[in-house]
Amino acid sequence: MANKVKPKGQTMIKKVLVANRGEIAVRIMRSCREMGILTVAVYSDADRKAMHVLYADEAYHIGASPSSESYLNITRILEVAKACNADAIHPGYGFLSENAFFSEKCQQSGIKFIGPKPHAISQMGDKITARKTMLAAKVPVVPGTETAITDDQQAIRMIHDIGLPVMVKASAGGGGKGMRLVKRAEDIESSISAARSEAKSAFGDDAVYIEKYIESPHHIEFQILADQHGNVIQLFERECSVQRRHQKIIEETPSPILTPKVREEMGKAAVAAARAVNYEGAGTIEFIVDNQLNYYFLEMNTRLQVEHPITERVVGIDLVKEQIRIASGQKLTYQQEELQQNGHAIECRVYAEDAANNFMPDPGKVTHITIPYGVGVRVDGYIYEGFEIPTFYDPLIAKLIVWGRNREDAIERTLRALQEFKIAGVKTSLNFLENIMTAPDFKGGNYTTHFIDENINHLLNEKDACADNCEDMVVISAFLEYLYRIRKASPKEMTALKNNWKDYSRIRSVLKL
């Protein structure tokens, strides 16, 4: 692709090193390919055969399988970036994406970090500072403390001021870690001590703060994009309340509970939040919303999120391309006025885990995978037949993203797509996800972050055996296939059965379903 002459400060990125793995690395590389940008994969021992390595233009081994020795190894990653002349690094999500030090090191090395500046990351990474920043920007925050609590007695006084129930949270924490819920006055002291010691061991910092606990909470987040020229737009919301132990499982947009008025207010608050830290790039403002639609700033994620595809589907844009353009110094492609939500999108995260066995991760070799197709079906994955899912990273196999013209259509389509999605060799959460689609609380759009706990019996249901003799057909098929296989060794008996073989060169995928 020829280098076009651009105004000063705007040089289109030519080669991106993706400092990540799995589905997001592949997804980022796809957009780079479309833009004519070269892609560089980095991989650990366990990922030599991973799809992002196969897909990229260049690939470099960076270390042993544990993340600390590979995907979190800043020195090694920067070495590779310099060696291959990458002019930008995309950190994906997780790993180094919200590491201010890494963003700083990239800057120092003259390599563009496709994400915000270090100060924005640290300002929003420290939860207490983030709250203060939001208050100054007049963004509503959950009622709570303004400074770190270092003294247990001080904490107890503040809790009485705020009113039970409260959440005690680690200031250096985030992503659902380092939190304690306190419902009763008698638990206050022990919860604070426990939270502080957990915070100390997990994050090296025992500073905690207190927030009012919102009953019946909804987790609703807003996507923003900000360029280097001061333009900020919001791309509407994602409803992420279907969570298990603070891990999101299903996300959808638009949210079934927001009114246009509240949506507009929250959108404006999200933009104000991004401006308050001079944000650049793609980011997400998380809010907690109660049943009366009162909304409060929870935290800001200064990176691209796992669930970004549902926004892409409903707004009609490619967020990774926008990130690259912003990092290249270009102005935002879109104006706020031209953005609309069109239809409804749902994302299901398919994990390699055994729902029936306490959701134990189930890594291993995938012996078979059938991806669902059809109108409005997108699958962001990286697993292929024969790939061994490693034990060192999270067990996300794929994201199923479905679009429908309204919420009901999207749910029907998601259910159909989940039924078509077949994975053998590892246990998956596919059945669990199907049960979410048929749960009355979910179908009614009436759920909070307690949804999974409240519906766990329905969700863990084994599927009903198929009706109409279908199970007998399975028995018959197993038996006949067994006969074929054992008779491979004795062709004489095969002829005796007078088998009727079809042409084996028929393309397999055309014949399925």
């Binding site: 132990r245 891990q247 994990y351 885990e353 306490n358 959701f359 134990m360 991760p361 189930d362 890594p363 012996t367 078979h368 059938t370 034990t391 060192f392 990273y393 999270d394 067990p395 039924q419 078509e420 077949k422 053998a424 060799g425 599927k463 055996a465 198929c466 109409d468 003799n469 279908c470 199970e471 007998d472 057909m473 399975v474 028995v475 018959i476 098929s477 197993a478 038996f479 006949l480 296939e481 067994y482 006969l483 074929y484 296989r485 054992i486 059965l497 007078k498 088998n499 009727n500 073989w501 079809k502 084996y504 028929r506 397999r508 014949l511 399925k512 379903l513």
Partner: protein
């Protein structure tokens, strides 16, 4: 010929009466079926019975008798039981019961919490160990009522796969 086929939790008796070309006459647990049967690709079958169409996909398991089987909406684990399999099943019966009482790490991970202690009475479904691996936390629960006999690990300890964590009797 008569065989047994196990599909998930059901064991069915299968008798093949006739197989000529695409015509299959077969009995499953005494129920007779006359089918039009075609193998349309490797591991893909089309069965038509009374004009109902069944598209069945078979994925080989660890040996020639085991399969993961997909229908349109469901997935099954199937196994053909012949004389050898029946013999092995009867031998394993004893050791299965012991397996229920030990909690083992299925993959490498970290012990987050052990909310019980040696000598403590536990009930079926009670959390015995909280285990963390692959960035997810899971709770191991007692399969039946009993008493905690051995706790072989400490909170915060990293363990390798197959390590016996707690024994309940």
């Amino acid at each position: 010929m008569s065989y047994e086929v196990k599909v998930n939790n059901r064991t069915a008796q299968v008798d093949l009466l006739q197989w000529e070309g695409a015509y299959v006459h077969i009995k499953v647990d005494g129920k007779e079926y006359k089918l039009d049967f075609e193998k349309v690709g490797k591991g893909i079958f089309s069965l038509i019975h009374n004009n109902t169409s069944y598209n069945i996909e078979l994925i080989p398991g660890e040996n020639v008798k085991k399969y993961t089987i997909n229908t349109h909406k469901n997935t099954f684990e199937a196994e053909v039981i012949d004389a050898e399999a029946k013999y092995r099943a009867s031998r394993l019966k004893g050791s299965e019961e012991d397996a229920e009482n030990t909690i083992t790490a299925p993959i490498p991970g970290k012990i987050v919490r052990i909310p019980v202690e040696t000598g403590q009475k536990v009930t079926a479904g009670q959390t015995i160990v909280v285990f963390s691996a692959m960035k997810m936390e899971s709770e191991f629960k007692a399969k039946k009522d009993g008493v905690v006999k051995e706790v072989n690990v400490k909170e915060g300890q990293n363990v390798e796969a197959k390590k016996v964590l707690v024994v309940v009797e």
